[in-house]
């Protein structure tokens, strides 16, 4: 699948994003990395221009609760409701529900084996093929973890 890995907001650390990008590439995906410090609208535009099927958002700054829902809204607003969104980084458990409600389908914390992320993408692709809700604009409910 075509996957955009993005770093939203003021957050200068991208080792995790690069590890994920590398793992997905090795898993046979085409990975487009945005680089650091992208605004929500930058990210929506990049997902559109690259015609990506998946967006992975990495954030360590604590701003996930405002940035990620904003990006999900932006995707839906621009006709990108079928894009599959997942998140990673430092995200406390109490915020998971909020992200799932925004349309995020998986959240990966520190120490996640990269095979877990690949497993999620396999499952997501399967759901997409079977027309089960998986995109950011589809019915909520299902999430990976």
């Amino acid at each position: 699948m075509r996957v955009v890995i993005a770093k939203p907001g003021l957050d200068g650390h991208d080792r995790g994003a690069k590890v994920i990008a590398r793992a997905l590439r090795d898993g046979g995906h085409d990975v487009i990395y945005t680089g650091l410090r992208k605004t929500s609208s930058d990210i929506v535009r990049i997902v559109n221009d690259e015609d990506a099927e998946v967006l992975g958002l990495s954030t360590l700054s604590g701003a996930h609760d405002s940035l990620i829902p904003k990006i999900c809204d932006g995707l839906r607003g621009d006709g990108l409701g079928n894009v599959i969104v997942f998140a990673g980084g430092i995200i406390p458990e109490r915020d998971l529900e909020l992200l799932y409600k925004s349309g995020v389908r998986a959240v990966f914390g520190p120490g996640t084996p990269t095979s877990d992320v690949l497993g999620f993408l396999d499952e997501a692709l399967l759901r997409k093929q079977n027309k089960h809700p998986i995109g950011v604009g589809d019915d909520l409910g299902w999430h990976w973890n």
Binding site: D26, V31, I32, N48, D49, E50
Partner: protein
């Protein structure tokens, strides 16, 4: 195909979502779509890995946007031959600031399309031109002859090298030095750039052609970029360019027909066991390609 013409119509009307989907469709549709645009302006940028092509394109994009052009970049990156995956990171180096609506960047993994990406690049450029993109840049990394040659599909070619790399010799081998209209030696802020430019000038003079400019630039500091752009803008597409473009299109489309031929694997196995000769294989393949096209 009707899907493609619908998308084209929407994209021409300014719908960015349709433009993006159109590019994917052109890359993936079983038949290679054809468009005709009279006024396209295309630049192929190639050179060895690490020469600074993406950073330099980023600088050029900024300049063009400032003077009111709309710029589309097709950035080709290699696909891993082992996993089939790719890590497309050119846009990191192009997107210094928020580039907004007048810049369109599409990263393309060169290896995932049956028959190769090169026959798809021309229709992509034509479609972008029809949609009003006034500067279209094709970036290809010069790691192999086929990658170098994709640049030859453009109206004009910029060859980028770094200081004292000696990699220009690879370009010479691939025949791209003769094709290049403008040659830039990047990283002029580093030692060795001047002598590198000089050795390229000598190489050009040896082949009896010193009409082309070798320009020193620093993509990092922006030095020389204005001069580079004005040289590119003022270079008249050479008369033999059209012949080259057509030649590249013909070869790439023919290659694509050949490698996507349904019997190709069978024919290769027959060649391996020696039941047919290469000449016979060519005969079988070419006559069935002709038949399928009639």
């Amino acid at each position: 195909m009707s899907n493609i013409s619908e998308l084209l119509e929407l994209a021409i009307s300014g719908d960015r979502r349709s433009l993006s989907r159109l590019m994917t469709n052109i890359a993936e549709s079983p038949q290679i779509p054809q468009f005709q645009s009279e006024s396209s302006w295309t630049l192929g940028v190639t050179g060895p890995p690490g020469a600074g092509k993406s950073t330099l394109i980023g600088q050029m994009v900024k300049h063009w946007v400032a003077v009111g052009e709309s710029v589309a970049v097709l950035a080709l990156d290699p696909t891993s031959p082992i996993t089939g995956g790719s890590f497309l990171a050119d846009r990191i180096r192009m997107e210094g600031d928020d580039l907004g609506e007048t810049v369109f960047v599409r990263s393309i993994a060169s290896g995932n399309i049956p028959g190769g990406i090169s026959p798809r690049i021309w229709p992509m450029c034509q479609a972008l031109s029809l949609c009003g993109w006034t500067r279209i840049v094709i970036e290809t990394v010069g790691t192999g002859q086929s990658e170098f040659r994709i640049a030859a599909l453009a109206d004009r070619i910029l060859l980028v090298d770094g200081p004292d790399r000696g990699d220009i010799i690879q370009a010479e081998k691939a025949g791209i030095l003769e094709l290049a209209d403008v040659i830039a030696v990047n990283k002029s802020d580093l030692p060795g750039a001047v002598s590198s430019a000089q050795s390229i000038r000598i190489s050009l003079a040896l082949s009896g052609d010193d009409s082309r400019e070798v320009i020193l630039v620093s993509a990092l500091e922006g030095e020389g970029v204005e001069k580079l752009i004005s040289t590119i803008e003022s270079c008249e597409p050479r008369s033999e360019r059209n012949e080259m473009i057509m030649r590249e299109r013909l070869i790439s489309e023919w290659d694509s027909l050949l490698v996507t031929h349904p019997e190709i694997d069978e024919i290769i196995s027959k060649l391996c066991i020696g039941s047919i000769t290469v000449n016979e294989a060519i005969h079988i393949l070419s006559s069935s390609i002709v038949q399928s096209r009639e």
